[in-house]
């Protein structure tokens, strides 16, 4: 049966091919024998081409008509540019009527000033030579010889090969970080870094991992996690970003631990020394001197000069390669007018003065120790900063449960201390854009210019006022 079917099919196929080939058996076109199957192939190709040339079926897109766009535009109502004004927004800081030295005048009365980061008491000694402004960015005749002198002086003081000057304290760190970190790099940063560092990290578009504030075991485990199993880790740049003295809490970063970890896991360190330059170390050279670490081991050091040096602006220092790269690719340097020359000469004078008078540092240390011994037993407040830090940070023993409530209490303490005892201290200020979640508290900036009586006055006042305010709570 199967044989019969097979025979029939072969017979049919033979008949078809004979019929097919018959008319073309003798056809020769351009020397090529035309066979029947060629016709089929040509027809097939023609059909394929025909199908390709037809428009594919897509559901028709109906763009919005002009009238519809008009209606949408009319309907849309934007939010106001500013959120509703609340009561706390209406408070104004006190206005100073004289220089912000250890004693200043507010509202006509002399107060003891613990709100300026004037650590070495240098407010009060400079002169103006060149007019105020520099009228141009560094690349276009804004470089005055004092700028170059200042950069050389700072490098000499710190013992680094080169340094570069910026015109504003906070713009230093948020221009340096994007100049060196690009998309795809890894940055491990402390969660307590201040807003300018956070902004720099955000602008750099790198992958950012935060570790617990000043916690070395957390840093170790984060570094471990980030480098484990990452074979590409050799090609991407890796940074650890820390501050020497944290503005938000007064803690000091343990540099020797960090250098050990950095060398183990092959990271580079970016250190912000705004509050430790001129304060830590036996001659004020900063955190590296304080821990006895050679300064070459830190890759990039930045600092704002608005604190111990009693001037404005900032600098960044490191190897020649690091500094040269910033002269063309750091936005805060290239696209901004340079530092006013009188501030640069003030910086040089300040560094000279510091180098000649290391006794200032021991005075500052004594003042901090004295203040600590006086206010270590305050009711309701505990000391939360490092004993060596000139920013003395006090936080509430028992928080009210919300940042707003805490701030209200602290603001009241500060107000009463100023009005009743003429001592000027401040609370932490937190912007809504700040991602830092450390607790708020009181900040006292101790200076080498304060006398013992100033410090005793402050501590007595604090003791009295906190007892009053917090007992009203209880």
């Amino acid at each position: 049966m199967a044989v019969a079917v097979a025979n029939m099919t072969t017979a049919a196929l033979d008949w078809v091919s004979v019929k097919f080939n018959a008319p073309l058996a003798g056809m020769v076109v351009f020397g090529v024998h035309i066979h029947g199957h060629l016709i089929v192939e040509v027809l097939l190709i023609a059909v394929i081409l025909f199908q390709l040339s037809r428009k594919s079926y897509k559901p028709p897109k109906k763009p919005l008509t002009e009238k519809e766009i008009d209606d949408l535009c009319d309907e849309w109502a934007p939010e106001p540019l500013h959120p509703p004004i609340t009561e706390e927004m209406l408070s104004e800081p006190p206005t100073l009527e004289s220089a912000a030295g250890p004693h200043t005048i507010i509202d006509g009365k002399e107060v003891v000033n613990f709100a300026s980061a004037n650590y070495l008491g240098l407010i009060g000694n400079e002169k103006i030579n060149y007019g105020v402004g520099s009228c141009g960015p560094r690349g276009f005749y804004g470089t005055i010889d004092v700028h170059l002198d200042c950069e050389a002086r700072i490098s000499k003081f710190l013992g680094t090969p080169d340094s570069i000057l910026y015109s504003y304290g906070i713009s230093t760190i948020f221009s340096v970080i994007p100049a060196f970190c690009k998309k795809g790099d890894i940055i491990v940063a402390d969660e307590g870094v201040h807003w300018a560092v956070q902004n720099g990290l955000y602008l750099s578009r790198s992958t950012i991992v935060y570790f617990k504030h000043n916690d070395m075991s957390s840093l170790k485990s984060t570094l471990e996690k980030v480098t484990r199993g990452n074979r590409r880790a050799e090609k991407i740049r890796r940074y650890i970003v820390v501050e020497a003295i944290y503005q938000n809490s007064g803690q000091i970063a343990p540099l020797d631990e960090i250098i050990r970890l950095k060398e183990k896991y092959r990271f580079r360190v970016v250190l912000d020394e705004s509050h430790s330059f001129g304060v830590l170390g036996s001659s004020g050279r900063g955190l590296a001197e304080h821990y006895g670490v050679p300064v070459e081991k830190i890759d990039i050091i930045t600092a704002g000069m608005g604190n111990a040096l009693a001037t404005d602006g900032g600098f960044c220092t490191g190897s020649v390669r690091v500094v040269d790269h910033q002269r063309l690719s750091s936005s805060g340097y290239v696209f901004s007018a340079s530092l006013p020359p009188f501030l640069a000469s003030a910086a040089i004078a300040a560094v000279d003065y510091l180098e000649e008078n290391p006794a200032l540092l021991s005075k500052l240390k004594r003042n901090i120790a004295l203040l600590w011994s006086e206010i270590s037993e305050l009711p309701g407040l505990i000391l939360a900063s490092n004993p060596l830090s000139p920013i003395v940070f006090l936080k509430l023993k028992r928080s009210t449960g919300s940042t707003k409530g805490d701030m209200k209490l602290l603001d009241e303490i500060v107000d009463r201390v100023l009005k009743e005892d003429l001592v000027f201290i401040v609370t932490t200020k937190r912007s809504t854009l700040d991602k830092c979640r450390l607790p708020v508290g009181l900040r006292i900036f101790v200076s080498a210019g304060h006398t013992e009586s100033d410090l005793l006055k402050a501590s007595n006042s604090l003791k009295r006022v906190t007892a009053l305010v917090l007992s009203e709570l209880a």
Binding site: L96, W195, F342, L343
Partner: protein, 491 residues
Amino acid sequence: MVKLPYLTALTTLISYGLLFLFGQIRDLFRKILDLLKFKKVQGKGYAPICLGLEDFYTRRLYLRIQDCFGRPIASAPDAWFDVVERYSNDNNKTLQRTSNTTKCLNLGSYNYLGFAAADEYCTPRVIESLKKYSSSTCSVRADGGTTKLHTELEELVARFVGKPAAILFGMGYATNSAIIPALIGKGGLIISDSLNHNSIVNGSRGSGAVVRVFQHNTPSHLEEVLREQIAEGQPRTHRPWKKIIVIVEGIYSMEGELCKLPEIIAVCKKYKAYTYLDEAHSIGAIGKSGRGVCELLGVDPADVDIMMGTFTKSFGSCGGYIAASKEIIRHLKHTCPAHLYATSMSPPAVQQVISAIKVILGEDGSNRGAQKLAQIRENSNFFRSELQKMGFEVLGDNDSPVMPIMLYNPAKIPAFSRECLNQNVAVVTVAFPATPLLLARARICISASHTREDLIKGLEVISKVGDLVGIKYFPVEPEKVAAEEKLKKLE
């Protein structure tokens, strides 16, 4: 806008191509040499801090002509200043300072009203404030950094600009970078002009809002972009935008053009978008009484939501300000990071601005302010028309004190700069990355302290150098035609 002739475009491209090729060959040799020397790279396992092509431009193109940029000066940047001479022993890789200086005509600093040098009204007051308040407050505004000077200046700026309130910052760049994130966040839209300054770009990026760009100074394209964006809503979710801010500048520093403010304000009002005007170069320099581009173009300051400006250019100081309604300023004082975290403006700098504004307004008892404003307008128009008559391609509108002269070819940049310096005229040349690659230019900034003789000397030198270097792209206006036109005007 710049119209680039084809031949020039071709030659410029070829020049850059050659430079690029040479740069790559040198890089190749360096790699070979490094391998041969078995140089130990700092620390095994560290990726290089600057990857290969990132600083190619710096190493191979910029360093060759490094002596044209960053020239140090040894005096205040007035109409004439002392430029420090530098020399190089290693083919421009590093430059050493000498102690010689040359007195040159200053056509490069932003000194529009001449306040950069010692001024009879401002300087004594600045020195007094230095003695009283010292050079820094060492504190942020929100803590102990607000002095009486700061509050006085804020009121004065608000009055000068025509807005209810103002807030100060210590640096113009930081003003933009820190304000824009405080005004708008995720869910908002920023539409900015394609040639906006780097600080605005950084501020917009830092805010987290979506950024769209519209064609430079084209209100019709702005309207198109606004309509499209409002109709579409946020990307992917299509929810309506929370708010839209349009950012423009008063004078664009690389083009010298004024912004088409009345048309842009009309478009923004129609679509309920907020406007942000950056008057860094125009405040104090244009307008009948120096109040900036709003006064010149007849726009009511109440129509612009936020006006920003800097004190570096026309007032001879440093810092920036924002002027807006009382509520916005209150909100900014409460939340702007530059106000809460950054050291407050240096008191002598504040005093300089106060005195400068008083001079401009005539409140110091003389009419020097009005004189300065008339002088700068006259100077700019004279200089620009003369340059155009000589056949240079000059950009910018009338009345604007910034005039770029097109150079195009990369070789003409150092040639123009060095030749002018040899003849004691200091000019600024700008190339990539501040301008597009093919459109290199020399930028002249006129000041009210330039006298007619200074300008004529400058014109002579530029004309001579222009002939030498070959940048007179337009035909020179023949003398006869110019004389005829003058006669016609007189009749």
